[in-house]
Symmetry: C2
Subunit: 216 residues, 2 copies
DNA sequence: TTATAAATTTAGATAAGTCTAAATTTTTTA
DNA sequence: TAAAAAATTTAGACTTATCTAAATTTATAA
């Protein structure tokens, strides 16, 4: 149907579209670790297949059919991540690369049965929503910890940065999905924050606070 | 490490090596659904990587390192087939194509954990032995039903033909892995065989008898 | 608003894996 | 054992996805 490279482009366009109306060539080149000229070539190909809307120099958006393909890849990625953590006992910082390969396994029947086998999970190990077999998913309204004030509380529900380093840091601090936190203090000097979590005080930098997502 | 095409060639060479000392270009072309000239090109590449022993016009054998790669792919293929049947409830005739994709997922850690998750199975859904994490597996000594005589018994332990059509036929006749059979009669005219299985009489053609494997 | 910088596209090249057609080697057979 | 047939390899071309370098377009700034 679509090649591996095409799938990766569509997925990347989808992810970059979250923050902007249209996605630029350079953004894609940076995310896909390739050159702008290679991106241009692929964009023409995807436009020919009517998976994206592409006007030279003006960036791209996904068409309805392109978005469907992208969401399906993301569904597969997140379900496999869930499988790796819940069934094979991997840690949340270990599963991304494996899921990057597994998301390209083509069978829809397989992924639907995997979904059923695991009890139709709604969120992956990083708190990201898992699209159902129709491509529908909850967009829950998360805020970075940095966006709330002293004496406010929240539940950790996701991360903005998905890097191994950040996930390992959070794991070590036990700042994991589902934990309740209370903001005790914001240090004026560097805007780092002191939280209470399970009766412990934890100080996190502004950088961390910006990348840790909570629901109120 | 190795490309998808390289992995498929090594796997094919391994499978064809079971029946002969060396594997020919045309055998590979037929099995891989490609042309002899394409095979020659790839054989040169694999020889450069010291995964096969190749002398022009003389066919190929796997080197120790090529065999290790091939066995590892087969391990992954069979473990995923087992997973699909035992965990996701697919039928034994449905899993081959999916496992053809899944066998290329690279992580060794993943496959070893999958193996553990399933309790270290020794045989896949078609009765083929699953190599362990060191590449070792039981070669049990199976015979085609056609090779035994009247009044002899055996346990169905494998198939020679792995085609969907043959597997579906066996399923319908309930001639599945683990069943006990007794040879009641061999029809002289076409050498078809009449078996007793779970108090039922079943007649199978010579063709079927040649492709159904039992242990005595 | 024109010059400069940045972003993007085009042109031409490369590597992997495949193909067809022609050439070569091996095997078979008369 | 020489001619014919079969198997295999070589030569040259194509596609996909990539690259560098040059050209073009858009954005920015004096």
């Amino acid at each position: 149907m679509n090649t591996l490279a095409e799938e990766n482009y569509l997925k990347s366009i989808y992810h970059l579209s979250v923050n902007a109306a249209s996605v630029t060539t350079n953004q894609l080149a940076a995310l896909l670790n390739t050159k702008a000229s290679s991106v241009t070539d692929m964009l023409k190909k995807l436009a020919d297949k009517e998976l994206i809307n592409y006007t030279p120099y003006q960036g791209v958006t996904l068409t309805a059919s392109g978005e469907k393909v992208a969401v399906n890849i993301i569904r597969k990625h997140r379900l496999w991540e869930y499988f790796l953590v819940e069934k094979l006992n991997f840690k949340w910082d270990q599963v991304h690369e494996m899921a990057e390969e597994m998301e390209h396994i083509s069978s829809t029947e397989l992924i639907d049965r995997l979904d059923k086998f695991m009890g139709y999970p709604k969120y992956d190990p990083h708190g990201d929503p898992i699209p159902d077999c129709n491509g529908l998913f909850n967009i829950h309204n998360l805020k970075p910890v940095a966006a709330i004030g002293v004496n406010e509380t929240g539940v950790i529900c996701g991360v903005r940065d998905h890097s191994k380093e950040f996930l390992q840091y959070l794991e070590k601090q036990e700042l994991t999905i589902g934990k309740n936190i209370l903001i005790l203090e914001v240090i004026e000097f560097d805007r780092s924050m002191i939280l209470e979590m399970e009766n412990k005080k934890i100080q996190i930098s502004r950088e961390v606070a910006n990348n840790l997502l909570i629901s109120l």
